[in-house]
């Protein structure tokens, strides 16, 4: 057996009910290298790593760690074998301090004051260049700080094999390059690093080898230096696809939304949207960039009447068909019942945009259940619409009454977007519209948005992938701490410029 081999997976199969997440997957992870696991959403790349971390147990197959056949029944077994995983959704306790999170679940070796733990954390920090306050509560941390904490946590447990699930999804370009430096340090230190990702440029930048999965199957492993993005895409998707987004220029533009001095405070009284002013025009895609939690969600919700703006805020809606309306002061119900055509695809699809336990028909009903006479519901029209959405967007569902939460992520999003554009909106706002979707569905969504733009709809696209934002948007509005930190031309802006605006407020602000 190769001494350099840290983990070897053999014929791993895992099913969830009727869904086969992994089928006979075999590959290995080596010390002194960064291995990228590349695959689309739903390709089973997270599932296979979860089996190494003890979250899932394989239906069949074998796992060897350092040459020994092992059985990883729970996360504790994984730690004992030196495997640490940093999940996409951080596994931290909000009300605990950093230090408490680090020692969680470990044997008590240093009394109750955590002093020796504190010392070791400081050692790890100085060794790899982390900066963290051990007594800070997690609920006060930024996303990047939480990630740092997660990495320290697994290092503290003596992990020799680190698995990171989509670690850059919520980081700025600057934070990403800092993370990559840390990963290289750890690799040079002899550790085995696995990053799960679907971003090709990151694979090219950080990894030494790439293992590709598709639809639960192992496709192959290639050396990064011997491949290129086009080849990787083909392996990942299984067919040749072009990765370009069409961006047409629409000459005719009309003012649709005039947002002025919009300010929103959260429950604790902190300004989460701070004096935001911008205009939105028909026939454009306005991209909104910003690190997560910079006020994107609250901004869109305030426009929809879901958040109460502070006095002095103004959002004026212009439409050819319905005239001019001031939206501040209107409730969501009033916006809907006045027939104002604002469509909103929220970030939390099943928790806000749809009702997971209802079928397509009842979900289409959501925006129009008040229509029709009498106290009873009228389901006939929504059913027709549901059929139309199912056919036009190719939604895969056993029936119109099948609970949408059981559908795949892509189909869920198709139901939501389909319902929203079916109303022929004047303004269409989307938040993280392609998060968690596979490449084909993502491009289908981009095409839908572009189609809407060509029809004269004013489209707002809140996104996290800067490459997509730069390719899709006519203009990019960058939010930083709830403030507008610049509005750039999408055709000329570059990534570093946007990244800098996301994190550093301009002078004099």
């Amino acid at each position: 057996m190769d001494n350099n081999c840290a983990v070897q997976l053999k014929d791993i199969t895992k099913t969830f009910g009727a869904v086969v997440a992994n089928e006979n997957v075999s590959f290995d992870i080596r010390k002194h290298e960064v291995l990228a696991i590349l695959g689309e959403n739903g390709s089973g790349k997270t599932t296979v790593m979860n089996m190494l971390a003890g979250i899932y147990y394989p239906d069949s197959g074998e796992i060897f760690v350092n040459g020994n056949l092992v059985s990883i029944k729970d996360p504790k077994d994984a730690y004992d074998l030196g495997i640490g995983m940093i999940h996409q959704h951080y596994k931290l306790i909000d009300v605990f301090s950093a230090l408490e999170n680090i020692v969680l679940g470990l044997k008590n070796t240093d009394g109750n004051d955590l002093e020796s733990a504190r010392k070791r954390v400081n050692e790890i920090c100085s060794r790899y260049g982390f900066d963290i306050d051990p007594d800070m509560k997690v609920y006060d941390m930024t996303v990047s700080q939480k990630q740092t904490l997660e990495i320290i946590k697994v290092l503290y447990r003596g992990a020799e094999i680190l698995i990171l699930d989509e670690p850059t999804a919520v980081l700025t370009p600057q934070e990403t390059s800092r993370l990559f430096n840390v990963l290289r340090n750890m690799r040079d230190d002899g550790k085995a690093i696995v990053i799960i990702t679907h971003k090709l440029n990151e694979v090219m930048e950080i990894s030494d080898r790439v293992t590709i999965l598709r639809k639960g199957q192992y496709i192959g492993t290639v050396n990064t230096s011997e491949t290129n993005p086009q080849q990787l895409t083909e392996m990942m998707v299984g067919e040749k696809i072009t990765l370009d987004i069409n961006r047409d220029f629409i000459e005719e533009k009309h003012l649709r939304l005039e947002v002025k001095n919009l300010t929103v405070k959260n429950i604790e009284g902190k300004k989460v949207v701070d004096d935001v002013t911008f205009n939105l025009y028909s026939g454009e895609v306005l991209g909104i960039a910003g690190i997560s939690g910079s006020g994107q969600k609250e901004l869109l919700e305030a426009i929809m009447g879901l958040q109460k703006p502070e006095p002095g805020s103004s959002v004026v809606y212009y439409s050819t068909a319905h005239g001019v309306h001031e939206l501040v002061g209107l409730s969501t119900k009033e916006i809907i019942s006045h027939g104002l055509h604002l469509a909103f695809v929220p970030e939390d699809r099943l928790g806000m945009g749809l009702v997971g336990n209802m079928g397509m028909t009842d979900n289409v009903l959501l925006k129009r259940y008040r229509k029709g006479k009498g106290p009873l519901l009228h389901r006939q029209q929504p059913m027709q619409t549901a059929i139309k959405i199912k056919d036009e967007l190719d939604v895969k569902t056993p029936s119109l009454d099948y609970p949408v939460r059981k559908l795949s992520g892509g189909n869920v999003q198709k139901v939501l977007v389909g319902r929203e554009i079916n109303n022929k909106p004047t303004v269409l706002m989307t938040a993280y519209a392609v998060r968690g979707l596979d490449i084909n569905t993502s491009y289908a969504i981009y095409n839908l948005l572009n189609e809407q733009k060509k029809r004269g709809v004013a489209v707002v696209y809140v996104g996290e992938d800067l490459d997509v934002l730069l390719a899709l948007s006519d203009r990019i509005l960058v939010l930083c701490n709830g403030k507008v930190n610049g509005i750039l031309d999408g055709r000329t802006a570059n990534k570093e410029e946007v990244g800098l605006l996301m994190t550093h407020l301009k002078e004099g602000e």
Partner: protein
């Protein structure tokens, strides 16, 4: 109001408070691990009947009961019965992932049924209503500290003349607070209640912690039932489900204390004061109210005064919910079951 009356009121409040403090501390342990056990009143009923039955059969079987055996037998019967009830709750909600609200309510129905069923039989065995008494055991539980309880005048009266379980639960409440905040096991337990997925990923045995919390918590709460039978009603029994009503107040007290056992040490007595307030309404106010309601007897009015503890509880619930402080919130996963492979 005379000094004697005040002392009597305080004594009554402390005795009452002790019952619900057991319930509250036990339930807090369970809730800190994410289990909301609305079966607590039933568990306390079970604790009461088990300790009574144990003591009853022991006292009947010997001519001169040994106080130490009295205490041991009733304690052990109580702990075993209530720990089993906790285990049953745990099996249904943790392993079988049943709805916690419904399981808890059913457990209350079950505990109340068992207690009153066998309580009725014991009453019959001992010759009819009001006849049952486990005097020797009750006396052993009501034993007070020598010297301290007699020689210090009013201090003895106020602080030292309660049965020894009163001091046990006070110590237990502070110990529990220390356990939650200062020990590694306590930290792990809290993480299970906050976010079981995180605790699991950190290598903590979520199922084991949850089982331990609901079993031990249930046993602690059950002692409230024992104390009720042995001390509060002095070793008697009646099928009036009095323990159940107190059990609900114990569950409410958990929220009132914002899941901090140290707050139960005074919160429980405060509830006790409210509970007995109906006996201490000043005569002036009483007669005024009697005129207002056109009522001829004080006992009639007392029906209304007896609402006070419940109304106070409601006010407390509202006050607690209206101020939102991060560190005073319920454990985040409270009331939900955990399945690792959920997706």
């Amino acid at each position: 109001m005379t000094l004697d009356m005040i002392i009597a009121w305080i004594t009554a409040a402390v005795t009452f408070g002790t019952v619900i403090m057991f319930g509250c501390v036990g339930e807090t342990l369970n809730e800190k691990a994410g289990g909301l056990n609305l079966g607590t009143p039933g568990v306390m009923m079970l604790g009461g009947i088990a300790s009574l039955a144990g003591a009853f059969f022991y006292e009947k079987s010997v001519a001169v009961p040994n106080p130490i055996l009295c205490v041991l037998i009733s304690l052990i019967s109580c702990l075993v019965a209530t720990a089993l009830a906790g285990l049953l709750y745990g099996f249904l909600t943790i392993t079988l992932r049943a709805n916690q609200n419904v399981t808890g309510l059913t457990l209350t129905m079950f505990g109340t049924g068992i207690a009153n069923f066998f309580g009725g039989s014991l009453v019959k065995l001992s010759g009819g209503v009001g006849q049952i008494s486990v005097a020797a055991t009750s006396k052993a539980f009501k034993a007070t500290m020598p010297i301290l309880s007699t020689k210090l005048g009013i201090v003895s009266q106020l602080l030292f003349k309660y049965g020894w379980l009163t001091y046990v639960i006070l110590a237990l409440a502070f110990a529990m607070q220390y356990f939650f905040n200062k020990t590694r096991t306590g930290l792990n337990l809290r993480s299970v209640g906050e976010n079981p997925a995180t605790a699991d990923a950190a290598g903590i045995n979520v199922t084991l912690y949850k089982y331990m919390a609901c079993t031990i918590g249930s046993a602690i709460a059950g002692l409230g039932g024992l104390y009720y039978v042995m001390d509060y009603v002095k070793g008697t029994w009646s099928n009036d489900s009095g323990i159940e009503a107190l059990g609900w107040l114990a569950v409410a007290l958990v929220i009132f204390t914002s899941w901090k056992p140290k707050n139960a040490t005074w919160g429980a007595y405060l509830f006790g004061f409210c509970y007995w307030i109906y006996l201490y309404i000043p005569a002036g106010i009483n007669s005024m109210l009697m005129k207002l309601f056109k009522v001829t007897r004080t006992t009639y009015m007392q029906n209304l005064y007896k609402m006070i503890p419940y109304i106070v509880t409601i006010i407390v619930l509202v006050l607690v919910s209206s101020r939102n402080k991060r560190d005073n919130q319920a454990p985040q996963s409270l009331g939900t079951s955990y399945f690792r492979e959920e997706r």
